[in-house]
């Protein structure tokens, strides 16, 4: 961790009005939760739908994408990364610092609203709120690391990330069951299933598969990003 790099990254992510824009989505989640909490009907299914689809399925990937790529890809894009790279700092330190900031921001903007929304919707029954919060924490960290790597590797990081998060995880995952094994969202759901009470959440991926994959992806993405940043070539945008 380097505090100066961390401070600059936070300012890049949340400076100007960007922090406010990022707040819009969690605010919508909370509004929906309040409306849903005041309706009658099966609260359990509704909570699983809101927290599973809206929060874990949409909010976390989009936030992870904006934050993960915003932490480094924007700097590479406008070329200002060279001023950072020319400082006597190891490249892996830059990556770990930026990743730590990205993970913290993702957690603050995704996991905290998820927990609050869970409490509003379902209280503390079945540990459902806690389960989904843990799910968003782990998948948020994995998404941040993955999208940070994409930001270093390609100039089309956002499009590539969207293609993975939406087309692969949502569209392909809906039709092909096997695709869900390679989905950060499903790994997060699997962890949530383990935390929640018996039968409260159903996940398609076993915990014994999900946890190692989460760890491997997060660590491998971080290491690969450090290696890639060490040999970064700045190319002009086409």
């Amino acid at each position: 961790m380097n505090t100066t790099v961390a401070r600059l990254t936070v300012r890049g992510l949340l400076g100007r009005r960007r922090g406010l824009l990022l707040l819009v989505v969690p605010a919508l989640l909370l509004i929906i939760s309040v409306i849903a909490a005041n309706t009658d009907g099966d609260k359990h299914d509704l909570t699983v739908k809101i927290l599973g689809q809206l929060s874990l399925g949409t909010l976390v990937p989009i936030l992870g994408l904006v934050v993960g790529t915003g932490a480094i890809a924007t700097e590479i894009d406008d070329g200002s990364i060279v001023y950072l790279l020319s400082k006597p700092l190891p490249r892996r330190l830059i990556i770990t610092t930026k990743l730590a900031v990205a993970v913290a921001v993702t957690w603050a903007f995704a996991a905290v609203p998820t927990f609050v929304a869970g409490l509003i919707l379902y209280g503390t029954k079945d540990d459902l709120a806690l389960a989904f919060t843990v799910g968003t924490l782990v998948s948020g960290a994995a998404y941040s690391a993955l999208f940070l790597l994409l930001g270093v590797v390609t100039r089309h990081a956002v499009v590539a990330g969207l293609a993975y998060a939406l087309v692969w995880e949502s569209l392909v995952g809906n039709f092909v069951k096997g695709a869900r094994t390679l989905s950060v969202q499903q790994w997060g759901l699997s962890v949530a299933e383990a935390v929640a009470g018996e039968g409260a959440i159903t996940a398609d991926v076993a915990l014994g598969v999900a946890v190692p994959l989460l760890v491997v992806v997060t660590v491998a993405a971080t290491v690969l990003a450090s290696v890639k940043l060490a040999g970064l070539t700045l190319a002009a945008e086409d």
């Binding site: 739908k49 990081a157 499009v159």
Partner: protein
């Protein structure tokens, strides 16, 4: 080597007449410039005339949209069906995510790059006006999206007609599909271009457009669940109003009701009032975005 002025030979300071002449040929004017900008925008949306790497995504999206149509029509012919398993207007909605990805990725290509490299003032130093610029870009995006959605439908139509399926039915539904494609293209382009024009950074633009489309869709799904469509397969008639919450469902619901397609379980604009309101919202979205775009470029 520069000599002091008084030591230079006197005859070096000669102005040669190199015969400069003003341009007296035809001036092609505003319309030509606007058309050129439109063509350039349409080509840029598919990465034509740009590097190979910028062709990858649009061509991939086109392939992902068209290949299922080929498979569907081939299977339908082999199985000897008399009707396509997927109706024409339903096709763009079924692969809506891919269509959205295209607008999210390519709208910033049209708008953000000009802002970022400050080429917009250069355009305005030519005869075109700000209105022409917005018109050309908007037209380019709409036509690009229309081509994207029409290509698979043409494949379906040709396959169906050549495969001996009823000509009249297929032609009617193909035309419904074209109408749906026009509506999708207008609404998606309006939303995408407006967001793209607000940021000079391509990455933010892409994420913001996709974020808006996906989050609004997610909210619409959840509200539909709250309105009682979660446990029963056929949601109550009033639940269909959630279509107003997401651009994709707005068009889908409007088209379904307008042409009397699908079953009661499919999202549709509820009744005549629903059609009016849905159509009105679509018109407001398109016209409003267009107006805001024109306002955005007034002060550049």
């Amino acid at each position: 080597m520069s000599l002091p002025p008084e030591t230079r030979p006197a005859e070096s300071g000669v102005i040669h007449d190199i015969g400069y002449r003003g341009y007296t040929g035809p001036r092609l004017g505003r319309g030509y410039a606007t058309r050129s900008l439109f063509t350039q925008g349409l080509r840029a949306a598919y990465g034509l005339g740009r590097s190979g790497r910028s062709k990858v995504l649009p061509m991939l999206v086109l392939a992902v949209l068209t290949l299922p149509a080929v498979v569907i029509v081939a299977l339908a012919i082999v199985q000897g069906r008399t009707e396509l398993p997927l109706d024409y207007p339903a096709y763009p909605s079924a692969l809506g995510l891919v269509v959205e990805l295209f607008v999210a990725a390519q709208a910033p290509v049209l708008m953000s790059r000009d802002l970022r490299y400050s080429t917009v003032p250069l355009y305005f130093s030519r005869p075109i006006t700000r209105g022409d610029y917005v018109r050309a870009k908007f037209g380019a995006m709409v036509v690009a999206m229309l081509l994207l959605m029409t290509a698979p439908m043409v494949v379906l139509y040709l396959g169906a007609v050549l495969g001996g399926m009823p000509f009249g039915h297929n032609t009617a539904h193909f035309l419904y599909g074209l109408a749906a494609a026009v509506l999708f293209a207008l609404v998606y382009s309006a939303v995408g271009l407006l967001i793209a024009a607000s940021t000079p950074r391509r990455g933010f633009g892409v994420a913001a457009i996709m974020g808006f489309l996906v989050v609004s869709q997610g909210i619409a799904v959840v509200v539909l669940g709250i309105a009682g469509g979660l446990d029963n397969p056929v949601p109550p008639e009033s639940a269909n109003w959630v279509g107003l919450l997401s651009p994709g469902w707005l068009v889908e619901g409007l088209v379904t009701q307008l042409f009397g397609l699908g079953s009661a379980a499919d999202l549709h604009a509820p009744g005549t009032l629903g059609v009016t309101v849905f159509a009105l919202e679509a018109a407001v979205v398109v016209a409003g975005s267009y107006g805001l775009l024109r306002r955005r470029y007034r002060s550049i």
